[in-house]
């Protein structure tokens, strides 16, 4: 458990980066995890093939909200090509914790929202790998 509530997760949960909304975003997307009611909305501004600005809002458990904060901080300024390559393992590495199947969805909601918002790929990260 102390595992799950490591310092950096609590820190991001209580002091989230990139939290808020954008005035006139180029794209927005909102998604929820129906199992537990975690909800994340993301606003994006794009420029020169890059994700110039990103803001998230929503509510949920510490894992889902910390993941959103870490992910947004990580991808702001990145090229869209680089973002496309981000996968489940990148997100789990950022969190640095081991998660069971239920909490895994909490951890991946932000990445799912990001990819659906930018590429319209609306599926759980890693779903293909599971099936393969």
């Amino acid at each position: 458990m102390d595992e799950l509530f490591r310092e950096h997760i609590l820190e991001h949960y209580q002091h989230p980066r990139c939290k808020g909304t954008l005035e006139s975003p180029d794209l927005s997307f909102e998604d929820a995890n129906p199992l537990c009611g975690d909800r994340i909305r993301m606003d994006f501004k794009l420029a020169d093939g890059k994700l110039a600005e990103i803001r998230f809002s929503g509510h949920g458990c510490s894992i889902s909200q910390a993941a959103a904060s870490m992910l947004c901080e990580h991808v702001e300024g990145m090229s869209l090509d680089e973002i496309k390559k981000l996968g489940r393992d990148d997100m789990l590495e950022m969190l640095g914790i081991h998660l069971g199947p239920v909490r895994l969805k909490c951890a991946l909601l932000a990445l799912k929202t990001l990819k659906a918002g930018i590429y319209g790929v609306n599926q759980w990260p890693g779903e293909d790998e599971e099936e393969a």
């Binding site: 537990c36 009611g37 458990c61």
Partner: protein, 427 residues
């Protein structure tokens, strides 16, 4: 005999043979899961989701498979007769347990959800037409909402809701108004809320519904194995139950219905066993209850249910209910000591063994994760009652719930775990 608020028949003056005083620590010894070695002691506070199973239930199912596994109602050979006898014996036991007039009024289903769907499809489609209304409550489990959503959309039926107070009690005084125009044909509601723990005044609601010509469905999923249940004293027309919350196995549920209603209803599913005669283009239905039991049923599970009921009877339902209430009252007391904790639902005297809560600044999932690290199992989420959580203005809650094997020390561990969760997040 019957408390008109809760419909607890004979709760005060039970006349059963004297039993050993109820001792949850001894009861617990009958449940092998608690003796299974593990690195942390199992503190199971999620019996509202599903109950644990006593050894006698496991033994009964095992014995059935080992000694007389055969399909029922078909073979004339010895073990098929034995299997049929066990299956029908479970039906008789359950019928008696809920004070049904006859075992013919008890239909086996997969669970409560299927029992409610059976009523929605077979009775609802034959009885409701455009312009009719159904009265529900905001504290229903999704299983007593979604089947009516489907029917309402299909038939143009209006859904109405009995209002609820902030403490999670139904405002029954508003019910006559909801029924006054005579359009409501059904009042369907939960006996004990799986989130708030509220014990609804079932007999009073049924009486008012009947005065206005409406049929009554009671969702007894959370009450059947927690308190004495007398379906006739309550005045219900249909009652839905699910065995896995009653110390029995998953995969079997029960619908009780008044015989005249069941007789008049068309079948739900078509197939083997539910027919008397089949021709190439038509068929005639079997008699009750088999008319509603299409295909091979959950035979071993029925046997397990029979054993679970026999076990509950030896505990005594008055004693089980008293134990639930005592633990709830104790939990409300201990949880009141935790800063920032909001307990949902009414005072202890109006609830069963369910206590849901939220903690300021800590998501219910995180609460449950902290508790899990201490071996405490609680549920976090919306507990299949999203509209109820919307009504209370919260996305989710955490819930502790009890059964006959639950202990005060589990409540103590819960309270300590909550203090700990608070500390972790109060940085």
């Amino acid at each position: 005999m019957t408390d008109s608020r809760t419909g607890l028949a004979g709760a005060a003056e039970s006349s059963v043979a004297p039993r050993a005083p109820f001792d949850p620590a001894r009861v617990r010894e009958d449940f092998p899961i608690f003796a299974t070695p593990r690195d942390k002691k199992l503190l199971y506070l999620d019996s509202a989701a599903t109950s644990q199973k006593p050894q006698v239930v496991l033994d009964a199912m095992d014995r059935y498979y080992r000694t007389c596994n055969a399909n029922i109602h078909r073979g004339v050979y010895r073990i098929a007769e034995e299997a049929t006898e066990l299956y029908e014996d479970a039906r008789r036991r359950f019928a008696k347990f809920i004070h049904a007039a006859s075992p013919r009024e008890v239909i086996f289903t997969r669970n409560s959800t299927e029992a409610i769907n059976l009523v929605a499809y077979a009775w609802g489609r034959a009885s409701l037409k455009s312009g009719d209304a159904i009265v529900l409550t905001p504290m229903e489990h999704h299983s007593n909402l979604v089947p009516w959503h489907i029917l309402a959309a299909e038939r143009g039926v209006e859904l109405r809701f009995i209002p609820m107070t902030d403490t999670g009690e139904l405002e029954v005084s508003a019910l006559p108004g909801l029924l006054a125009d005579g359009r409501a044909k059904l009042v369907s509601f939960v006996h004990v809320s799986n989130v708030l723990g509220t014990v609804n005044p079932a007999a009073e609601i049924a009486r008012i519904a009947h005065e206005h010509g409406a049929t009554v469905l009671l969702d007894a999923s959370q009450s059947a194995a927690h308190m004495p249940l007398d379906v006739r004293a309550l005045g219900a027309d249909f009652v839905a139950c699910t065995a896995h919350k009653m110390l029995g196995p998953t995969g079997i549920g029960m619908l009780w219905g008044r015989r005249e209603l069941l007789e008049a209803m068309p079948p739900f599913l078509g197939g083997g066993e539910m027919i008397r005669e089949v021709h190439l283009t038509s068929s005639k239905w079997n008699e009750l209850p088999w008319k509603f039991e299409a295909g091979t049923m959950a035979i071993a599970e029925a046997v397990g249910l029979g054993a679970a009921i026999a076990y509950l009877e030896t505990l005594g339902m008055d004693a089980v209910f008293a134990h639930d209430r005592e633990l709830s009252a104790y939990a409300l007391e201990r949880l009141a000591e935790v800063p920032g904790l909001r307990v949902l639902g009414p005072s202890a005297d109006k609830r069963g063994g369910v206590v849901a809560f939220t903690m300021e600044g800590v998501h219910p999932h995180d609460v449950a994760t902290v508790l899990d690290s201490e071996g405490i199992c609680v549920r976090a989420g919306h507990h299949c009652a999203m509209p109820l959580h919307d009504a209370m203005g919260i996305p989710a809650s955490a819930r502790a719930s009890f059964h006959c094997y639950s202990l005060r020390e589990e409540v103590d561990a819960l309270a300590e775990g909550l203090h700990r969760a608070r500390k972790i997040f109060a940085r």
